[in-house]
Symmetry: D2
């Protein structure tokens, strides 16, 4: 941390800042600029939490320099993490594909979707049994019944399951039926939920919050890891901006940023990221090309009858064509050793 003093700060002010730093068990260093004095803090940053340095007299502002997460950081863990989910490697050489309907609507729908998903070559079936919806009057999901349909689809197809958990009480059933627990964007800073999935013993996919910075996102991963769960997968799903043509603005640069700052795998969701089925293919190709570890996409046997998010779902035909391209692209990049990331 670096503390910038006001130009008119007195010697007494500076001594006050130094004392506050030393009281917190840290060391202070002064740097005299042309117009302003700067005080640097040496030592474990987390101790500074007890000092409201900006409220001290003479302080203009302070700038944080080191990161507040550790377990999630590449500095702490230089090698990229590969998570093995029932035999499927996430973060390895090949991209992992998670596809399926936004919401589980019926057994028939899930089985029909699973067949398409499987045919395209995906490893995971997605589908929400608990749906966080803006309005209380929108379809909220089939809950445990929906989880059972997903499990039945796994039985039939061999696909692994990923599904969202929205409450602490939901962790047990979701962990029972699902291979990965998904934390949705609206719950990215539901810290109670993060702590509990940190104890559930299953891999967790953490979607980026609607307007979360990359720093906040990695700190949210830290909450899960800090409870003993190292198997965290990140998922970029678009951020909220002023642009209204797309539902969200898919931030593909987050893939490169996360790969630089963290060792955790990162998946991209172009369905939520754009909100338009027509944009899923170009964004899926782009995600693979920039180094994402996989894709999450919405596929529905009949998008026009979907109970939620139909306009951002692929038909079977579109999905199969997309998957054909994704597989070719990813194979070519591996074979040609085209590495987009220098880390």
């Amino acid at each position: 941390m670096v503390i910038i003093m006001n130009p008119e700060a007195t010697l007494e002010n500076i001594n006050g800042v130094i004392q506050a730093i030393e009281n917190a068990g840290l060391e202070a260093k002064i740097m005299e600029g042309a117009q302003q004095k700067i005080v640097g803090v040496i030592g474990d940053k987390t101790k500074m939490v007890t000092v409201a340095i900006d409220a001290l007299p003479g302080v203009d502002h302070s700038v944080s320099i080191s990161k507040s997460y550790k377990l999630a950081s590449r500095e702490f863990h230089p090698q990229s993490t590969v998570i093995n989910v029932a035999g499927v490697k996430i973060g390895g050489d090949e991209p992992v594909i998670m596809a399926g309907p936004c919401a589980v609507e019926s057994l028939e729908q899930v089985l029909a979707a699973a067949e398409i998903v499987k045919k395209g070559g995906a490893q995971f079936l997605r589908g929400g049994a608990y749906k966080p919806r803006t309005s209380p009057y929108s379809f909220q999901g089939l809950e445990v019944e929906g989880l059972k349909y997903l499990a039945e689809a796994r039985e039939k197809t061999g696909l692994k399951i990923i599904t969202e958990v929205t409450t602490v009480e939901g962790i047990e059933p979701v962990a029972e039926y699902s291979d990965i627990l998904q934390i949705g964007a609206r719950n990215m800073q539901n810290f109670g939920l993060l702590k509990e999935v940190g104890k559930c013993g299953k891999p967790v996919m953490l979607k980026r919050g609607l307007a979360a910075t990359i720093d906040e996102w990695l700190n949210a991963a830290e909450y899960i890891m800090n409870e003993g769960n190292p198997d965290v997968i990140l998922c970029e799903r678009g951020i909220r901006t002023y642009e209204t043509y797309t539902r969200n603005t898919l931030d593909l640069s987050a893939v490169a940023a996360v790969k630089h700052l963290s060792h955790l795998p990162i998946i991209v969701d172009p369905s939520h990221g754009t909100g338009k089925w027509r944009m899923i293919k170009p964004m899926a190709f782009a995600a693979i090309a920039c180094g994402a570890d996989g894709l999450m996409m919405e596929v529905h046997p009949n998008p026009a009858k979907a109970l939620s998010d139909g306009s951002q779902s692929l038909t079977a035909e579109n999905y199969l064509e997309l998957m054909d391209g994704v597989k070719k692209l990813s194979k070519f990049m591996r074979e040609e050793n085209l590495n987009p990331l220098t880390i």
Copy 2:
């Protein structure tokens, strides 16, 4: 809902849209424009939830016209709601003031803060016992111990208590000790929590999410009200924008918007809204002038030693001066009948 067809949509496409609308038990009306056909939907909008209209062939896009919340809307309930909390009226003629430290740190700190808060003329003492923090390594609150300190301060000063609840398990203890349960910005769309506080039998203050639209915010209030709790107070606390000088951008126009769209009372929090103690007074004055029903502010006996958010906390001196102004301004506006809002 209005559905805009592509210029090249066929008759078959339009019939498909009409049929989808009719299958949902609604009526369709067609309007032929110069370039494009438009289909209007007549009937209860919530039925449209089962139709993914944008995914139908020939559809360009659709536009939602009516609101998805009802209990929270002024259309449904034209008169402004006044909530009586143990004798204090929120949403009435006089602004209600909620002040106190960001976090409860010790009994001494709470009592010292309460004395200042009381002296300034506030009706509520605020203070967090459960703190949602970006980093798992930051101070997370004293929990039930902190609640007891708040209750002791109420005993000593007669101030009412408002404090945040962050988990479903926390509802019982918070409801036991606090007069109002606060839902923080990060939990505005934690729908499981919203439903449960909807059943707790105590008034709830719902802070606007970090990047929530006004529409999403009122829908979140609807979740609480839909469980039988009509006593919801809204709180504007700043939204996330590209500007970095302030911690958030305080959206005071939300006061006028909420007063127009809803009958619920609205409080403004200039401490979180700006993140700078120096800006609390101007923004508090502005909030009163534009018709807010009250203020929530951070006051700390010693901001420089606060365990969180010290730089956005007022000292006793600053708080008392601010309160003097707020009381004069609000009294003048009442006496002169200066009504900022036409609703």
Copy 3:
């Protein structure tokens, strides 16, 4: 400027950074942290422009500490500036009101508007003769003809004139007919135009850009002042955010921020700031209460027939009622010495 080195930066890297700083004629100071080394730069920051410090090997990132504007800063000019425009003081004790139609449409319209504006007690008539419009097919303004109508209205009413200039060629005619030249939001970083109005010898009102930071805004003012024109008035008119209920998000905290960082006067435009006539009164009251030096508002004799922005224009009746409130509020605050700003 403070330069944060990578944890794995070598001694050679650090020496490279020091040398780059010294080559630019500045002094470097090193601070050794627990995990990272930091290099501080002492001296005139503007010299650093020749060093792309972030591109040097071993550098993690750099943080700018001092401001890049000087003439516009309060540090450089502690006393608040009062600008005298043909006898009207902007930045003095009383708020200045600028009102009138969005666009000049006809002589009759301007004269009718001017009469209303005058009756309400405003000092300035506004009205666009050159209109920057999103679409080339929208009404672009009456140009010089429009300027003449404004001048005729001044003749008749004694009101001063403020109108927008959008091109370098437009400066001469606008400066001939208008008392203040307005630079619109879309031109805030049209640096060629800024430099030229810096030489025009008339006061300039600089609106904040659609998505400009306060820092960029003050730097834009610096462009004008640096050409020898000290008479710059700032105008907050709302910033672009994700919220769609309002046309823009009026950032009233910018008033407090500008008053702290700069000595220049600041006006608030609640018409463009909200885009809804219903919200102008509450935001006007709020602007006065938080210390703005004045207001700019759209008033139209017949808003429903306005050629642009009718939905954000006040009728005569609404304007007069608003002005009554603004005058009472501002008089009360002066008399009671209610100062919202500590600077």
Copy 4:
């Protein structure tokens, strides 16, 4: 346009709206919903510009349905436009690469950069002779001298030139020396400049504004085209969001959006889009994969000594490696007929 009436709108209100529409020479159609009446407008939308419909009594709000640009729209011109610049096709099968330093600093620097750029296989040399900078004290460019250096580099290498024009007076010299005129992000809505480059007879590359919507961007292109210049190339360069890790948020979904809405070619600039040299390669790969017509990138013979934007510039080595990958990727996609866009 669709006009949504208030639930309490009277018959008189509705008649007022109908009359306003008919007065503008358009036709009105009424649709009676369950709660609200809706009025549709049939006819040429541009006529509605004279009616401030939202200001009419009884109107809740209005929704625009058709686009306000025409020449730039794919509806008007279904085939993708290919622009031939001195033999180089932009918008054709192969991506076009524009590379070079942010600013022209000296003849030596430009020639050194051009050699690297050429070696990598780019067709265009970029480099700013007129630099729009936030601070008036930053390096503003070598102006005509800089243009001559660029022309000399063209002479020596055969590369075409693209350089920015920032003022109307600058159009003549820039058009004399450069093959394409670039309009920078800050000038995207400098309508006077747009109109003049619309008459210059040379192709224009229009960068997306800092916080411009896709709709505003295409309308800005319309300004240029409406003056008779059909040769407009769009350039996505990142938009302003709340995220601070990257300088801007590169919106690659804009490529898919523009390809769907318009026939104009679109280039991606990952240097400005991310602000970090390390992220240029992944974002360049992603841009090619999602169907961009080319790339604009900053390359500097010695980034650490660049007078501007060094931290977002590639070294020769990084650039050559990136170009190798881009060429392989793009060749593979062409050969395999991997089309990311369905348009």
